[in-house]
Symmetry: C2
């Protein structure tokens, strides 16, 4: 009977609401599937700064050490990039799938959304977020700078992860690059070199501007998209827009040992925080990825099925609600419905 | 009777086809409106390299000096960034408007496209395309880097251009930034400081990832979008995707004296080059911006009206053609139709 220890980091805004909701469901499937789940709470971000004087306190780092996963809510700023970097969570997986019962929420035509199934593999601990940066001044005045720097090996290791994923999927790997303006970051060549070990995968290099456009014009053609940190950030939000909401998207950020950070793609949503109406399905989606990563595939499947049925019956939190056949529910009710369904 | 001298740079791929087509129409409205147009031909890009041993030959620079505008086709790489930098064409204007007769080409629902009228103001001669860059190696291995550097004054001067535009339009200026990860590039603060001189303009800072998403979810809400070089590149291609094609989008790149480079947003389209079927309306759109910049507002209006009528009648080049009521035409026929209509 396996036992897992996770660290829950609530953060700010709706963070605590969506994490607590997801934990209830996790505990429930744990009971069903016969594993146990120990939850420790860690601090990060603005609340950590208030309580402990640091955005990413040492205590949080120690708590996470040796855990089986981190379930993360949301922060406005401070701490998150440090947490990702500290545990070397370089491999960020962001699956984007169209959800039948939400097709009308998208601004795209229904026939353009059906069957969207994209996995964005985003490099998460290097690139322009982490390169040399600062302010300076010279005879031309004051300036600021951030450096998009990648070691070849950093590109190669995320490329291998993306290639692995593409191999298990439909075998198409689209590589975001901007080599006509940024020639010293040769993503295409490096990925193609790594691809020799993955003969079943077709590599398709694409300029990031064109890729952003093609995601809107023709989303169904994509399988796995590999991107650096900054491009991956933008492209995954476009992905959220395609299916009509980022409210449902979860992401996993893994290090080389498979240890991971699991979070929704959305932010703190300060406008609705504390009202009990937040949509927990993004964070829950991240928890599903965690279960899959642990090999608890049946538990993951149970949650997916329950969620699909609840959405099919028309239950919606405020962010997804529209007039008509749908039934507006708050966070607590949605959780209860999911628990019943399980 | 005013007289203008322009430099035509054909470039590669479909470049010569779309520029020559546009020049025919320009010459025709010149006759109607009673101004003269002298055209000189300059080299740039791969063809320039073959002929003159340089992607951006000195001869081309000299030819452009003192001209009233540069009409540019397309190049795959080499020369274009240098040309932009040489003449300090820092202010890139990319208008994106939905075209009624093309609404069915977009992957967005018709009600999401109606009335889209966005102006992207993109900084074009600084940022990561032009900051310190290179390859290096240290004990961690080989790396490549490009630096996103902006002098505060570079941000301020493009901000003033965007503010001017917003003032003439609906008064909303959305500012693309990524300050939660790139804090040393304080676009929001600098734009807000410049905005004090433009009390009628509302400033809306938006994280670039969210902005990319909102452009898809809610394109009609935007008026002017200000972005740095790299973000502006990506966002304007998303804009093209919204209206269903970048084939119709032209752009103007101006320096402080109002001298400008006029080009379509699309590329060289090697797959259809030389077949006489390219769509000249992107380059023609750029020429319309040139006429407006010269103050030849009536000439611009004539072309716009002719183009709208031709599209309304159903004439389409291959890139825009779809079965049904539409009539497929090649480049030459489209030009003839436009000339008749004028
Ligand atoms: C060709 C390339 C360098 C260029 C750019 O990124 O500026 C193009 O995509 C554009 O938008 O004009
Ligand atoms: C909060 C921000 C720094 C972060 C990022 O850009 O990585 C967020 O947008 C995300 O995508 O997780």
């Amino acid at each position: 009977k396996p036992s897992y220890r996770i660290v829950a980091i609530l953060g700010e805004g709706i963070g605590s609401e969506v994490v607590e909701a997801s934990l209830k469901i996790l505990q429930h499937v744990a009971k069903i599937e016969g594993f146990t789940l120990q939850v420790d709470y860690g601090w990060l971000g603005a609340t950590a700064f208030e309580e402990l004087g640091s955005y990413f306190p040492q205590a949080t780092a120690e708590l996470c050490d040796g855990a089986d996963g981190i379930v993360f809510g949301a922060v406005t700023q401070g701490g998150l990039l440090e947490l990702r970097k500290h545990f070397d969570f370089f491999c960020n997986l962001r699956p984007i799938r169209s959800v039948k019962s939400l097709v009308h929420k998208s601004s795209l035509r229904p026939e353009k959304i059906q069957g969207i199934d994209i996995l964005i593999v985003r490099e998460l601990v290097s690139g322009i977020y982490f390169g040399p940066s600062g302010r300076g001044s010279d005879d031309k005045g004051d300036y600021g700078y951030h450096t998009m720097r990648y070691y070849d090996e950093e590109i190669r290791r995320i490329a291998r992860k993306a290639l692995e994923q593409a191999q298990y999927r439909r075998g198409l790997l689209t590589v975001a690059h901007k080599e006509n303006a940024l020639p010293y970051l040769p993503w295409t060549r490096l990925v193609e070199e790594e691809a020799k070990e993955f003969p079943g995968v077709v590599i398709e290099p694409m300029l990031v501007d064109n890729l952003a456009m093609q995601m809107v014009l023709n989303p169904q053609r994509f399988d796995v998209i590999l991107a650096g940190n900054l491009f991956g950030d933008i492209l995954s939000d476009i992905g959220g827009a395609l299916i009509g909401s980022i409210g449902l998207l979860g992401s996993a950020s893994l290090n080389a040992d498979g240890f991971g950070l699991y979070e929704a793609i959305h932010g703190t949503a300060p406008d609705i925080a504390g009202k009990g109406i937040a949509n927990p399905l993004g964070t829950l989606g991240a928890c599903i990825l965690m279960l899959q990563q642990w090999g608890e595939v049946r538990a993951a499947q149970l949650i997916i099925a329950a969620q699909d049925r609840i959405l099919a019956k028309g239950y919606r939190t405020a962010d997804l609600f529209s007039q008509g056949e749908e039934i507006l529910v708050n966070t607590a009710t949605l959780v209860d419905l999911l628990l019943e369904e399980l």
